[in-house]
């Protein structure tokens, strides 16, 4: 995890951002914050594979945050501490064990939030939770603000429980939940990429992509950089808004896999080879689409063709986002995932 901090010398503003997770979305948030160039960042280990180690790591983070200097800064005119949770290894096919492990890590972070709240009584505390529209509303179309979550798999239950536990926290803690649709993007090899970069990467190498869905499955695709930019905007400029807010982040335009395939072929100028597979464990055929009127007014997603072009440029140029504490491999062919 990464800790960003900013304190101006005139004693007016003090802000700490704790970013848990540096995957596809976490890296995008990291990049967006880093572009501001006014935050210093430090890497801290946080293990979510081993709960005991995770607790020790959380204790280390707490110790750092409660150093005399930082606590003294919390009395600045504007003092804020924001937690961003976009961590976890659970995907759509997560098992019950993965779900439980991730909930333990999440619980450790919520405990840390409570302790920080006690130590920084003068600071405003925010939690930004990255949730999933797909997990919560799988099989629902035109999801809107009042849609009722009906998770169908462990991943969806995980997101549902995470949201509920967040809402149980002290009312003084501001809670922001981002329900994302199908996120795609490229931040370097070895990371989860989503359908579109997989098709681009495999298409450029004339490799077959395996789809656990059908060609007419509808999804709402959103670019990782848009999400990173939006959350950064909320971290920096949405400090005074209500204590609880839920944002549906998507494009508002459903796209079938056939449509995506066509766009990717157009952008890369090559044929895409697809193999469709259906198994009970991996089946992923239900439609998930968003009502465009439910999207936040200050949210402007990149259109799908421009997004595909950006991802293609990223893959071709071998652009790798450098995040502290992450040793990413150079572009190694075998590390690319050929399935979705």
């Amino acid at each position: 995890m990464i800790i960003f901090q900013r304190k101006d010398r005139r004693g007016k503003e003090f802000k700490i951002i704790l970013l848990f997770g540096t995957g596809l979305i976490g890296t995008s948030i990291y990049n967006s914050i880093n572009r501001q160039a006014v935050y210093s960042s430090s890497y801290f280990p946080f293990n979510w594979n081993c709960p005991e180690q995770g607790k020790k790591d959380a204790a280390g983070i707490f110790q750092y945050l409660t150093s005399d200097f930082l606590v003294s800064c919390s009395h600045y005119a504007s003092s804020q501490i924001a937690f961003v949770w976009c961590a976890g290894k659970a995907g759509f096919t997560a098992t019950k064990k993965i779900m439980n492990d991730e909930l333990i890590s999440y619980g450790t972070v919520l405990d840390l939030v409570r302790r920080i709240k006690e130590s920084f009584s003068g600071s405003k505390i925010f939690i930004h939770l990255l949730s999933s529209s797909g997990g919560l509303f799988e099989g629902q179309r035109l999801i809107h603000d009042e849609s009722v979550p009906q998770p169908k798999r462990f991943y969806g239950h995980l997101k549902y429980v995470q949201e509920q536990r967040l809402m149980e926290l002290n009312d003084e803690i501001a809670k922001k939940v981002y329900r994302l649709t199908s996120v795609y993007g490229f931040v370097g090899p070895g990371q989860r990429m989503g359908l579109i970069p997989t098709l681009i990467a495999n298409g450029m190498r004339n490799k077959v992509s395996t789809i656990f869905g059908s060609s007419s499955t509808l999804r709402d695709y959103v670019l990782n950089e848009d999400v990173g930019f939006y959350i950064k905007k909320k971290l920096f400029h949405d400090c005074g808004s209500g204590n609880t807010a839920i944002y549906l982040l998507g494009s508002g335009k459903p796209s079938s896999i056939l449509e995506i395939r066509h766009f990717v072929e157009e952008v890369i100028g090559r044929k895409i080879y697809l193999e469709f597979r259906k198994t009970s464990q991996t089946e992923n055929t239900l439609d998930i689409t968003l009502n465009s009127s439910a999207l936040p007014v200050d949210w402007s997603p990149t259109d799908i063709i421009s997004g595909i072009r950006l991802v293609k440029e990223g893959i071709i140029s071998g652009k790798v986002s450098r995040v502290p504490g992450k040793n990413r491999l150079p572009f190694v062919e075998d590390k690319m995932n050929s399935t979705w």
């Binding site: 099989g139 035109l142 007419s216 459903p254 796209s255 079938s256 056939l258 449509e259 066509h262």
Partner: protein
């Protein structure tokens, strides 16, 4: 409806319908049109029908008559209305495709803005589709659309001509009031380029196409005498239809060439026979052989041109996205069929 278990209707327990309406000059018609669409939506809800009109998509094709503010006004009180605003005027087909590609419904209904197509007929289209196991149903007029025999005849003759030239029997049924299975509508829309004729692309994905006769009336033409289709537009439609289709006329040309070659060879053999054994039977020398040589090589050129054009046609269709295959799920149709049969019994 207790038996509903299909993947995509598991949660909503309803079959989702989307309407798509391209808008160019519909300011005066839109308020009435949305009321009619809403009546259908409410009727399905009130009668517990297994159908839900989940969205009405209006695509503003750079209208200049102030349709957009009217649409935004309509959208304010109806969250199920989705307004898409195109950057410039792209034309009716492109606007329809844009709307289809924004849709989520199991079935998509496309209709004009000018009340020519009554939304209350959506039920008739749906019933016809599930009863006859179809993927696409066109509404065709049961009587004169324009109340002008010449205009109606021109329209029919034009479609007949294009149908013959392209070898596509469904061209006669093409109409902008259509019901399309959602997955097929979106698949066709996604492969269409600017030059592709949308209805021809639909034929690439399904041959289960039919039509029902409905009382359609071009109110705008009847009242003002003005039609949205000028002669230029008709020719443009014909051009796109032919370019998007496998052109039967090319094969016809090649067949004529083959016939000319065959005649030239047979007659040439006879002339040669006469020349060798009955030379006195040829009064004027040179003319026949010249004519036969011309006929033979013209035929050969026609065949070769036909082959080249056939190659180009295959490449063009490949570029335009004609699929090798497409998988479709018709499982939910039986629930609709049960519903319409129960309704009839009552």
């Amino acid at each position: 409806m207790a038996g509903l278990h299909h993947a995509n209707i598991g949660i909503m327990n309803k079959i989702a319908i989307t309407t798509v309406t391209p808008v160019y000059s519909g300011r005066n018609f839109l308020p009435e049109l949305i009321v009619k669409i809403e009546q259908v939506r409410d009727r399905w809800r009130n009668t517990q029908a297994p159908l839900e009109l989940i969205e009405a998509i209006f695509v503003n094709d750079a209208s200049e008559d102030g349709s957009l503010p009217v649409l935004y006004e309509i959208q304010k009180t109806r969250p199920w209305v989705n307004v898409i605003n195109l950057s410039r005027n792209f034309g009716q087909h492109q606007a329809t495709i844009a709307g289809i590609l924004h849709s989520s419904g199991d079935w998509v209904v496309t209709m004009d803005e000018d009340l020519q197509h009554d939304p209350s007929h959506i039920d008739t289209l749906l019933e016809s589709a599930v009863k006859s196991d179809m993927d696409i149903i066109y509404a065709n007029p049961e009587q004169s659309v324009h109340e002008n025999p010449l205009r109606d005849w021109t329209s029919r003759a034009f479609k007949g001509l294009v149908s013959y030239a392209t070898g596509n029997p469904h061209v006669r049924e093409f109409n902008s009031f259509r019901l399309i299975r959602g997955s097929i509508a979106r698949a066709s829309g996604s492969v269409c380029s600017h030059g592709t004729y949308f209805d021809v692309a639909l034929c690439w994905f399904s041959s289960r196409i039919s039509s029902v006769k409905l009382p359609l009336k071009d109110v705008r033409f009847v009242e003002s005498g003005k039609s949205g289709y000028t002669m230029r537009k008709l020719f443009s439609h014909a051009r796109r239809m032919i370019v998007s289709s496998e052109t039967k006329i090319v094969r016809f040309g090649a067949a004529i060439g083959f016939f000319a070659m065959f005649v030239a060879v047979v007659v040439g053999a006879k002339i040669l026979f006469n020349k060798l054994f009955y030379p006195e039977s040829i009064p004027v020398e040179g003319w026949t052989s010249l004519f036969l040589a011309l006929m033979f090589f013209s035929g050969l050129l026609a065949i070769l041109s036909g082959i080249v054009l056939e190659y180009i046609s295959v490449i063009l269709l490949h570029i335009q996205g004609k699929p090798t295959f497409f998988v479709v799920d018709r499982l939910t149709d039986r629930f609709l069929l049960d519903y319409y049969q129960d309704k009839k019994k009552k």
